[in-house]
Amino acid sequence: MNLLIVLLVFVSMEGATWLIHRYIMHGFLWVLHRDHHDHSNEGSLERNDLFFVIFAAPAIALLYRGVQQNFSNLFFIGLGISLYGMAYFFVHDIFIHQRAKIFTKTKNPYLLAIRRAHKQHHKHLGKEKGECFGFLWVPMTYFKMYFNKK
C-alpha cells in the first residue's frame, strides 16, 4: 500500500512538473526560467533553483507531518515527491545537460529520447511556442525515434 502511494505520487509528479513548467515557468514566472533557455544567466536564480523549492518545500512539510503522525500516508507522499526530485535532478543534470563526462556515449534509447526531447525544448528561446515540457516522460515521437529500428 505504502509502496503504491510512493509510486503513484512519483508518476503524478511528472504530470505536475509538466503543468508547472508549461503554464507557470513558461507563464507568469518566465522571468525566472528564461535564463535557462537563452543562457544569459545574469541573475542568481535559474530554473533549477526554482524547481528545487517546488520539490523540496512540500516534500519537507509532508515528511515532517507524516513522521509526527507515526508514518502516516503523508510521509509516503513526501517520500514520492523527494524521490521524484532526486530522479529529476539526476536525469536533468547528468544525462540531459551532460554535466558529467559519464554516459556521454550511452546507447540507451530511453536516455537518448529524453535528451533529444529536452534539447528540442531548449531550442525555443522564447516564452511561447514551447514543446516537450515533460522530463522523464516525453512525446511518443521521441521514443519512436530511438526505440524503432530503422
Binding site: D49, F52, I60, V67, D93, I94, A100
Partner: protein, 232 residues
C-alpha cells in the same frame, strides 16, 4: 601512556600528510601558511561552538586522556583538533584534485544539496529540542545552501566524494575519541542533547558536523590559495 591518548590521535592524523607535503610532486609545504590562515578562519566559529557546548555540558572531555592543559574549558588537544583534522582533510582534497579528474562528481551537486536539504530539514524539525542535532542541521544547511546557491561553488560533489574517501580516517579518529578502542570515551555526550543514533560509538551528528567543517575548510582554503598563491 593514557595522558598522551588525545595528543597522539592528533599527531597520527597529521604526521603522514605532513611528511608527504614535502614530496616534489605535491609540494603542499608551500601552502602551509595559506592553510593555517584559512583553518583559523574556520576554527574560530567552531571553537566558540565547542566552548559553548562544553560549558553547557552537551559534551565534556575526560581529562585523564589529555596532558592537562585546559584553555577556556577545552583541553589543548581539542584546540589542536581544529587544525590537525582539517589539515588531513584539505591535504587529501588537494592531492586528489591534483592527481585525478574528479569533475564528474560535480554533476551531482544539485542532487546532493537537494537530498541533504530534505533530510536535514526533516531531522531538524522533528528533533529541534536536541541542541547538538539542531545546531548541526542548521550549520550544515546554511553551509550547503550558501555554497550552492550564493557562492555557486562547482566542487561540492568532488568535495563530498573526498569526504567519503576520508571516512575510514573519520571512523578511526572519532571512533577512538568516542570510546571505540579505549576503555571509556575521551569525549562524552549528554544523551538529552543528541539523537542517540551511533555508528559503532560515533554519534551520527559527528559525521554531519564533520561534513560542514570539511566543506568550509575547502571553501576558505581555495579562496586563500587564490589570493596568496595565484597559479602562474
Amino acid at each position: 601512556m593514557m595522558p598522551y591518548t588525545y595528543i597522539l590521535i592528533n599527531f597520527f592524523t597529521v604526521v603522514i600528510c605532513f611528511l608527504a607535503s614535502f614530496d616534489r610532486r605535491i609540494k603542499f609545504n608551500k601552502l602551509f601558511g595559506t592553510y593555517l590562515l584559512s583553518a583559523t578562519v574556520v576554527a574560530i566559529p567552531f571553537i566558540i561552538w565547542d566552548i559553548w557546548f562544553s560549558s553547557m555540558g552537551v559534551w565534556w572531555f575526560d581529562t585523564r586522556y589529555t596532558l592537562g592543559l585546559v584553555i577556556a574549558g577545552l583541553p589543548l588537544e581539542e584546540w589542536l583538533f581544529f587544525y590537525c583534522i582539517p589539515f588531513a582533510c584539505v591535504f587529501t582534497y588537494y592531492c586528489l584534485d591534483q592527481f585525478f579528474n574528479l569533475a564528474w562528481a560535480n554533476a551531482f551537486n544539485t542532487l546532493i544539496v537537494f537530498t541533504a536539504v530534505i533530510f536535514l530539514s526533516v531531522a531538524g524539525l522533528l528533533y529541534y529540542d536536541r541542541i547538538y542535532t539542531l545546531l548541526t542541521v542548521i550549520v550544515t544547511l546554511v553551509t550547503l545552501c550558501y555554497l550552492h546557491f550564493v557562492a555557486r561553488r562547482e566542487w561540492i560533489g568532488q568535495a563530498t566524494f573526498t569526504y567519503l574517501i576520508l571516512m575510514p580516517g573519520f571512523f578511526a579518529v572519532n571512533g577512538i575519541l568516542t570510546g571505540s578502542i579505549i576503555q571509556s570515551p575521551v569525549v562524552n555526550y549528554n544523551p538529552a542533547d543528541f539523537l542517540g543514533v551511533r555508528m559503532i560509538t560515533i554519534p551520527v551528528e559527528d559525521a554531519v558536523y564533520g561534513y560542514s567543517q570539511f566543506l568550509l575548510n575547502i571553501y576558505c582554503f581555495t579562496i586563500a590559495k587564490k589570493y596568496i598563491n595565484p597559479e602562474p
